[in-house]
Symmetry: D2
Subunit: 159 residues, 4 copies
Amino acid sequence: MAKILIVYQSKTSNTEKMAEAVEMGVKSEGVSVIRKKIENTKLEDLLEPQGILIGTPTYFGATTAEFKKLIDESIKYFPKLEGKVGAAFASSGDLGGGGETAILDILRAFLVHGMIVPGFTSGGHYGPVSVGAPNEERKKVCTEFGAKVARLVKRLYGG
Amino acid sequence: MAKILIVYQSKTSNTEKMAEAVEMGVKSEGVSVIRKKIENTKLEDLLEPQGILIGTPTYFGATTAEFKKLIDESIKYFPKLEGKVGAAFASSGDLGGGGETAILDILRAFLVHGMIVPGFTSGGHYGPVSVGAPNEERKKVCTEFGAKVARLVKRLYGG
Amino acid sequence: MAKILIVYQSKTSNTEKMAEAVEMGVKSEGVSVIRKKIENTKLEDLLEPQGILIGTPTYFGATTAEFKKLIDESIKYFPKLEGKVGAAFASSGDLGGGGETAILDILRAFLVHGMIVPGFTSGGHYGPVSVGAPNEERKKVCTEFGAKVARLVKRLYGG
Amino acid sequence: MAKILIVYQSKTSNTEKMAEAVEMGVKSEGVSVIRKKIENTKLEDLLEPQGILIGTPTYFGATTAEFKKLIDESIKYFPKLEGKVGAAFASSGDLGGGGETAILDILRAFLVHGMIVPGFTSGGHYGPVSVGAPNEERKKVCTEFGAKVARLVKRLYGG
């Protein structure tokens, strides 16, 4: 059965709320999901799931040093992540405050791993961005995002 | 006397309203300003001013084909734009809808020209973004952006 | 039967040589391919194929105004390109001369269309880059790139 | 007297050789320079110099977790770095292997700090990239890069 890992980092709970909404979307498609904070995530957690979703706060217009460390250490498994589906979402402190570029940081790392990155025709071009805490509209966007990724995982790996 | 050119493209008037607010900021610093729509802008307009500000709508997470055409044609003057100050602002249709990446498109072109690109400690990391029409807060951000760029132009070129 | 469109632009024939090598890779996987110069490409050519590959020269660290025009006009079919596979390759004039960012420009547009973008574990992180004319090693990278994209198209759409 | 800090990270000595060449360029303009490995760099080292140059290896198409940590911790001094000049250079393992995007990672962080980022009309659009060890041509590019940054620092801060 297909499985998706959601890894997120959250001090203020903004990204956590997004991650919860993303999880609902994945589950709505009948795909198994594991949701973990980055501090509870081990490198080997990346190996089993067919889809990896990363939710990052935005520090200096980018993902965090903690996520960059996880990404750099993932060289250990290169190229075993090839063919997995990857997508990302971000919270930021301000409009124009780097949420888009933080998501693209993650997507570029996924591409280097040879992973498969889907785009989105609504709710954020590269993945969902929330400025501060996600409101109901943003949570809905996150849920639709999770569902869409889950559908691609099922299409590629079976359900 | 230092001069700044503001070139913008606007179908819906959202970017135009931003451009007007940016112009106010430049003027508040006593720097001369020319504000033009892209359809009224000639390539040689880029030569005289010490600062070039571009206001772009966001099409497919990027600047527009019209601006890309202007940028590509500016090869004619390469490297005569070297040392000028450049900055950009963008309107987009949606949160996470590519405003940041549209601005970065313009900034990268400025860097290729050897221009000098300032960052901003508030109001949008790479330059102001508005989702839809700019409200009063966004207009204020645009005005502060124009003023900050004008101060750098004065510092480099005298006022 | 799955079909892939390769659209490229080439004044110096550098990008054309890359496109020819990419075509060989696609064909090696038994996938049908149409290779067209951008000046011979009509917007409706984007509709039928399950995969779209764009080969761009690098102008100002980005794709060209001609490709940006094609991308902007493709709004006409939005969101009909959703789910297609997209990838890109670029020639540039210099090492560090923007080939990577030109590729990412195209990939971002594909993501906005809701397309599916694969990464590559060798031969260029985001897609193949050639500085000047592609040598034999670069052509081989392009051929492997074409083959890999074709395999993903077959996996998603059947062969 | 103007001072420039060069911080670099280097396991293979490729980035170190680039940093040495950059240092020669800065010195050729009569600007004081401190060159440090990231492991010997303290956060407060960022405060005094008027220019900050970062030389990064490319890990997953980006700067390293070590540099991202330094960047994230630099929030402590926000916005005290505003107005300083910033530029970056990168070594990578492969053509198209992320050197450009690694440089842009650093430049975006500089922009968030409100720093001033110059572009370059030759030798790499966003800053010098070397694939593997820098040869004599690449070292020359690095030296010219260091000299150009030093000239801008002198122009802004006196020499």
